[in-house]
Homo-oligomer: 343 residues x 2
């Protein structure tokens, strides 16, 4: 059986409709029993031997020839298409008129057992090479299929999150001294660390009256909500933070404040290479429970390298946390969760 | 008991020698029973209440006052000093004349039970803030103590590695076609993948005669050792790699080749966010065993952000691998292993 390339599609006659579309969800039916296939579908049918050749500009092409005639990025899309077929899914190339909202995606994958004749979707797939950059703003409600240099595929689910609206209790007031990249509270109210989990006791042990070291983001937030007196006020703390980190400090502070305002408890994520680890419900400093999120604060116009996403998400997964990116915005960040997915 | 600050040291008289040096390894003895202390030692003795005050410019300072008079970076050094003392170590500030080779480090830590009067060393510690940059070239044979923004400490052991000298067998020859960021071998000799673990079969399954997809680094290496024919030769493959990745491709290729020349088997480390995962002894593609290394290839003049080190090392640890950085050099990279350490 042979196809004919025309206008960016491959036309197949004979009983193609029954063989390819009706029974296996390839292409779209046309008048009579004809079917049109997208190039990636035609390549897959050639690869499987279900098509013998595709005629391109008067020449019959087998799989290797046909592949060699396609443009950049085709190889990556082909391996993703083939992988999802191998996993038992039917899927359609995201062409205008073939699927809804085709912008920004390459494939719509149907739930197992469903096909293009159903009104269902399991995944909306965007294929990228590991060498490509991916704009953070374009993620959320799309599954990234990253093809690495050895043509292995890693799938990432991306999702926008909303933080709860909370009105958290204001912590007790304290006096602090700005000291070399931190604020020291020499006589902290006990609940500041114990109940609200601000700061780190100077001994490294939870002694009752140990001085408390606050990070600059903690101090800036406490000063802003009126719970910390420090010379120069919140401005002095923020200025110190900017000296040390530049814009990144403001970005981290906005993420920190939004998390605290949601009733969450962010602490440094340094040991995980992130900006914050986030506790959702702490009882007190001795009963923290598990912190379910790792957060990295990024500029709104950040572009991800897929390799960096792989690193963050893999680490988070290994410590049973969810990787959440705080995409900066003027008031409060947008929250983008990314997790590994096995389709 | 009181100390007197003079010429960057704190002088203590009375029975200081016996109390501070002989019995607990603080400072260095001077004439009679006097002892001189480095500022971080004086601060620790103030903090513990073993010194009542240090007189600075005619004024008696307690711990808080004394701390406030020190320069940038002192706070970080103090928390590291205190932490190591808490862990039961004696340690000396790395001053000229106090310890050997004091360049580039802050403390020499003695094995538990030993002190400055012994000729032994457990760790050579360099303290950095999580916000500092650390030149890769300066690492190796030093323990990094990173103080994060909440004054928690993470210790990293750094070590230079030598690769074994091996003369690995040359793989069987094959013909490949450059195709969209990879090289496809349509009729691969079976051992190329099965025995040498080059490439990835196109089906994703280890079918006997499946076409083999080679990454560009694999293909460039195979072409260079005369095991791959491809149009344009190794130059064409390298040019393609540079188009996609710039300098990074050459850097990765030099690391890849050095690993293969050592008899190791590097494969992509993408799923771990690294350049390569490295197998040391594979039997064949079906019996790979565990890959003990993750490798990231970096320019020779790379400066680490401690947060990135934390991320890489934590991930590697979580998958029972060692994080190894390949620091680029003209012939073969220098190898720097970094692991987490609990002193």
């Amino acid at each position: 059986m042979k196809g004919h390339a025309r206008d960016g599609l491959v036309h197949v006659g004979g009983d193609a409709r029954q063989r390819f579309y009706d029974s296996r969800g390839y292409g779209r039916p046309r008048e009579g029993d004809d079917v049109v296939l997208a190039p990636v579908e035609a390549a897959h049918l050639l690869f499987r031997g279900d098509l013998d050749a595709v005629e391109v500009e008067g020449r019959d092409c087998g799989f290797a020839d046909y592949l060699a005639r396609q443009g950049p990025g085709f190889g990556a899309r082909f391996v993703v298409y083939a992988d999802l077929r191998d996993r038992g899914f039917y899927l359609s190339p995201a062409r205008d008129g073939w699927v809804a909202d085709s912008e920004g995606i390459d494939f719509v994958v149907y739930p197992r057992g469903d096909g293009p004749w159903d009104d269902t979707e399991a995944y909306r797939i965007r294929t990228v090479s590991e060498r490509a950059d991916v704009a953070a703003g374009a993620l959320g409600d799309v599954t990234l299929a990253v093809v690495d240099e050895e043509s292995d595929i890693t799938y990432f689910e991306t999702e926008r999150l909303a933080l709860p609206d909370d009105a958290p209790e204001t912590p007790p007031t304290a006096d602090g001294v700005l000291l070399d990249d931190r604020v020291v509270v020499w006589e902290p109210p006990e609940r500041l660390h114990h109940a609200f989990f601000y700061g780190q006791p100077l001994t490294g042990r939870a002694a009752e009256h140990a001085p408390l070291q606050l990070s600059l983001v903690e101090a800036a937030h406490l000063a802003a909500v009126g719970a910390l007196s420090v010379e120069g006020g919140v401005e002095a703390v923020v200025a110190h933070g900017r000296d040390a980190e530049g814009d990144r400090f403001d970005r981290r502070l906005r993420a920190y404040r939004a998390l605290r305002d949601a009733g969450y408890t962010p602490k440094t994520g340094f040991k995980f290479g992130a900006d914050f680890r986030v506790y959702h419900d702490i009882e007190d400093a001795d009963n923290l429970g598990h912190s379910p999120w790792l957060v990295r604060a990024l500029p709104a116009d950040h572009t991800f390298s897929p390799r960096d996403v792989a690193l963050d998400v893999r680490l988070a997964h290994g410590v049973r946390k969810r990787m959440v990116f705080a995409l900066d915005a003027q008031d409060s960040p947008d929250w983008l969760a990314v997790s590994r997915l096995t389709p």
